[in-house]
């Protein structure tokens, strides 16, 4: 009976197109990411920490994407006021992200996404008359240029605008979608790894192979993070110079070869390989599409994390003995109250010659890579007045991007302004491509955009602080501490805005330069891989305990993967001896180093 019911009504409909009766008022909230047919629309969860929700986006690279559809049940027939939560993502002065909403085949009068206002808020869609138990909703993209919509609210009995303020909005969501009421316990684990990039995947595999019961939670449908086909950054950092040859074995398994950055062929990045390796681990449970947004702590110990499915909005709770923050952003550490640092330290503070004169908020930026491919016939691309403006004097004459396409640099906060960063990258990519297609026709007439990343490849955000904070001196002096683990080889590679780009786009730079400071292979102490104040929290990846300068070298993905391998081993020993991550260092270091060296 239940199975039949599921066949008829997909899960998303059952759980999340819910209603609430408030006196005489009926409200139906539809989260667009739960539309049962997405068409060409994609789910974007990157701004969850800001919006507390995912949303749907029409990422068509300038070609309208296929319609998204949903069937919504209504509690009562009658007239409903319709509200859409959306924005104009490029209001310069009016953005291109235009779309229509159809209710039972009839378009609502307004065209959305062209308000000239970049704030997420509710827009009136007028009124509809519901004459049946359910209606069909169709989102029609009009441009292919990243129109977006978070939710649709149907309301009778009141014309009041729904709340835009976050606390009230959370309350509305929770009540109408039954979020917390539907929370599901996912199990109790030895190690809960949050973040399924290269570091997190390696940590989970490493621990699972040592017999720990492991949960790996990833907020995208794919594994690999910046190395997945959604971002397409290649793996860097050498494995063959390791002081301990045992480290790097799992990284090697995940490594699909080097297709460079932004390769137009998605398959080059080995998504399937990563899945297959993880799925083969019997002790490892994988939870994709789950964004962790809450940590339950007690006496500086993480007891559980709560995540929300970025598509169905199913709430999930994971309890565990140890947790690993492999989120890149240090999300779990932040939620749990771990000490962290963001931005640059001063020279005076760290004694590093490469540190900034004054401490500030500067971080390396985020890339949205892109590539074009040759096509048989001449194609066109529209003018993009809402994008960055280029001219003969300044444009980037490239058929494909590389790492230099990067926005951030302290102009934007890489966590709270992740959406603006991605959108700035898109305005640079589309504006430049429009210039090339319309003004350099000899070269670009027969080329089309093959791929543009809508998921940002983030380089830097929070750094969680451990018992040791790795510095430039540790690196350049090649210090080998008793707990030396991962060998790192990448240069100290601290990007800055390209000088010419700064001249033309002051405070709006989207193109980077760097100066590679070469280093001899050096080691990262284990004490950089666990939190100094959250007693059961490990970290691996770019958010480990380093200064900004040292991070410039540790941040590359093969190196991050090896950190994951080490965390897996440490978690195993911690469990074995019923101790903390710090306890492994303080009481079981010889055994731990034996594991790494063996």
């Amino acid at each position: 009976m239940m199975n039949d019911f599921l066949k008829i009504y997909p899960l998303s409909l059952i759980f999340f197109f819910c209603l609430l009766r408030l006196g005489a008022q009926e409200q139906v909230l539809v989260e667009t990411e739960s539309f049962h047919q997405k068409g060409g629309w994609v789910i974007d969860q990157q701004s969850f920490p800001v919006l507390h929700s995912s949303y749907l986006m029409a990422h068509g690279m300038g070609r309208p994407v296929a319609d998204a559809r949903a069937t919504v049940k209504f509690p009562k027939k009658g007239t409903y006021k319709v509200w859409l939560r959306t924005k104009d993502w490029a209001p310069y002065p009016v953005g291109p992200g235009k779309f229509k909403l159809y209710v039972d085949g009839k378009a609502l009068a307004p065209t959305f996404g062209e308000s000239g206002d970049s704030a997420w808020k509710w827009y009136s869609g007028g009124e509809i008359n519901v004459e049946k138990d359910s209606v069909e909703l169709v989102l029609q993209d009009l441009t292919g240029f990243n129109g977006r919509i978070d939710a649709i609210l149907f309301s009778n009995g009141s014309d009041a605008e729904p709340p835009n303020e976050l606390v009230a909005l959370d309350k509305l969501r929770n009540e109408l979608l039954g979020l917390r009421a539907g929370l599901k316990e996912m199990g109790d684990f030895d190690l809960v790894v949050v973040g399924g990039g290269v570091a997190g995947t390696c940590a989970a595999i490493s621990a699972a192979r040592l017999g720990l019961k492991v949960a790996l939670i990833q907020d995208r449908p794919l594994l690999g993070g910046n190395n997945s086909s959604e971002v397409r950054v290649h793996l860097m950092g050498d494995l063959d110079k390791s002081y301990y040859p045992k480290l790097g074995r799992i990284v090697r398994e995940l490594d699909n070869g080097d297709p460079g950055n932004g390769n137009p062929n998605a398959k080059e990045y080995g998504d399937a390989r990563k899945f297959a390796i993880v799925k083969a681990e019997k002790n490892l449970s994988l939870f994709v599409n789950t964004h962790v947004y809450q940590a339950e702590t007690e006496n500086n110990i993480v007891k559980a994390v709560v995540g929300r499915d970025i598509e169905t909005n199913q709430e999930k709770r994971f309890t565990g003995k140890y947790f690993a923050d492999c989120t890149g952003d240090g999300t779990l550490g932040f939620l749990a109250g771990a000490d962290f640092r963001m931005g640059r330290e001063s020279k005076q503070e760290t004694g590093e010659t490469l540190a900034a004169d004054k401490a500030d908020d500067f971080t390396l930026g985020t890339s949205n890579l892109w590539a074009s491919l040759p096509v048989d016939s001449v194609t066109t691309f529209p003018e993009t007045p809402w994008a960055l403006t280029f001219s003969d004097e300044y444009h980037i004459d490239e058929e494909q991007s590389d790492w230099q396409w990067e926005t951030g640099f302290g102009n934007f906060n890489t966590i709270t302004e992740a959406e603006q960063i991605r959108d700035h990258n898109l305005r640079a990519v589309y504006g430049n491509w429009s210039y090339l297609k319309n003004h350099k026709r000899d070269k670009y007439d027969k080329r089309d955009l093959a791929w543009v990343a809508y998921i940002g490849g983030k380089r830097e955000s929070r750094r969680l602080l451990g018992d040791h904070i790795l510095t430039q001196m540790d690196i350049q002096e090649g210090k080998i501490y008793p707990d030396a683990t991962v060998t790192a080889t990448w240069t100290i590679d601290l990007h800055f805005p390209d000088k010419k780009n700064s001249l033309y786009f002051p405070d709006e730079e989207f193109f980077a330069g760097t100066k590679h400071i070469r280093v001899a292979p050096y080691t990262i102490p284990y004490r950089c891989l666990y939190s100094r104040n959250i007693n059961n929290l490990f970290m691996a990846g770019r958010d480990i305990s380093t200064t900004h300068v040292a991070f410039g070298s540790t941040r590359v993905m093969r190196t991050c993967g090896m950190m994951g391998e080490v965390v897996g081993m440490a978690a195993f020993l911690a469990k074995e001896h019923q101790t903390t991550p710090r306890g492994v260092y303080e009481k079981h270091l010889p055994e731990f180093m034996g594991m790494i060296k063996d």
């Binding site: 000239g116 403006t389 070269k443």
Partner: protein, 363 residues
């Protein structure tokens, strides 16, 4: 390195003579000496008898150590020494490794390489371009089996590394200065007018530097040309002008109207730049009307910045004030609040405006 052209070279202009190349085109041939060798550099005039471009015929060995191959090519520069293009004789094509001819794609790539004034080739010595550990020379100088270093791989054509390197340094070498020196002797007002109206942005900036001093004061007779730059598609040049031009040129109604016309037709980013400085202008009442008439076309961000321009005026015409009052009671709360924030406390408002500001209650 034994290539024969550059570094530590003293240049001089040799003899000069005029010659008619064709019935339509006049040209002047200069002899330039470089590293002890003289070569002709030709300035070609257009049909209006204005200097148009330079070219140089080159027959050069491309060498590494003692192995050389000849390359025949014609290189073109604009009047400021910026590289334009090249031509090769049909019967003496450019070749790569093993005498393979350049493909159309190779030519496109060579043009891109030579056009890139900031190429990595600039900072490299020829011997740095290949990995010394694996370098082997074969019969052809481009046939180096050693891996071209990754850093310059995208800056050269595979199998034609030395050709790219040699030509890039010829194009961006001392000849650029030589061309600029010759052009300087031709510089007159007519050329500056031409430059300011040119699609070549190098010419535009060069002429702007000539006609506009540090205080943004423009040489007599050039204001109309500078306005053309301000209104041009090149947003960077337009921004350059607006950030430097002395605002005394926009003290009168006529120029203010022209400025507003340019504003209305400019891209968004340039409008933002315009508004930042427009606050310093005392606008004619009729121009203020143009501004308030245009308010409905602006998004919230530009609306606020434009209000700042209006708020900076000592007084506003009655009609403009009435237009602003309407926003105070508008359903668009953002715009209502913006008008309130900008105009509340302004010293010269009508009684009605002050009354409406008093009634307005913040959301």
């Amino acid at each position: 390195m034994k290539t024969k052209f550059y570094y530590g070279i003293s240049l001089f202009i040799g003899c000069l003579w005029l010659t008619a190349v064709t019935a339509q085109e006049k040209s002047e041939k200069y002899t330039v000496s470089e590293a002890g060798e003289a070569y002709p550099l030709v300035l070609v005039y257009d049909r209006e008898n204005d200097p148009a471009y330079f070219f140089r015929d080159i027959f050069t060995p491309v060498c590494l150590d003692s192995v050389c191959k000849p390359v025949r090519i014609k290189l073109f520069w604009d009047l400021l020494g910026n590289y334009l293009r090249y031509e090769v004789p049909a019967d003496e094509p450019l070749t790569k490794l093993d005498h393979e001819e350049f493909t159309p794609e190779d030519h496109a790539q060579l043009q891109a390489i030579l056009s890139n004034e900031n190429s990595l080739l600039k900072d490299f010595k020829l011997e740095d371009l290949v990995d010394a550990r694996t370098q082997h020379l074969s019969d052809s100088v481009d046939a180096v089996t050693g891996a071209t270093k990754n850093t310059v791989k995208s800056e050269v054509i595979e199998g034609a590394l030395y050709t790219c390197y040699t030509l890039w340094h010829l194009v961006h070498g001392p000849v650029m200065n030589e061309i600029q020196k010759i052009s300087q002797t031709k510089l007159d007002n007519q050329m500056l007018h031409r430059f300011l109206r040119s699609a070549n942005f190098h010419y535009v900036y060069f002429a702007l530097d000539e006609v506009m001093d540090e205080g943004g004061v423009i040489r007599e007779g050039f204001f109309p040309d500078v306005l053309i730059v301000l209104a041009s598609d090149n947003v960077f040049a337009a921004r350059h002008v607006w950030q430097r031009i002395n605002l005394r040129y926009f003290a009168e109604r006529k120029e203010q109207e022209e400025l507003w016309r340019i504003f209305v037709h400019s891209p968004y980013t340039q409008q933002v730049v315009f508004l930042k400085r427009m606050k310093q202008l005392a606008l004619d009442p009729r121009v203020v009307r143009l501004v308030t008439d245009y308010l409905p076309n602006l998004n919230n961000a530009l609306f606020k910045q434009t209000l700042a321009v209006l708020a900076s005026q000592d007084s506003l015409p009655e009609a403009s004030q009435e237009q602003l009052i309407v926003y105070l009671t508008s359903t668009d709360k953002d715009k209502a609040e913006a008008v309130y924030e900008a105009m509340n406390g302004h010293a010269q408002l009508s009684e009605n405006f002050n009354k409406q500001l008093g009634i307005y209650s913040k959301p």
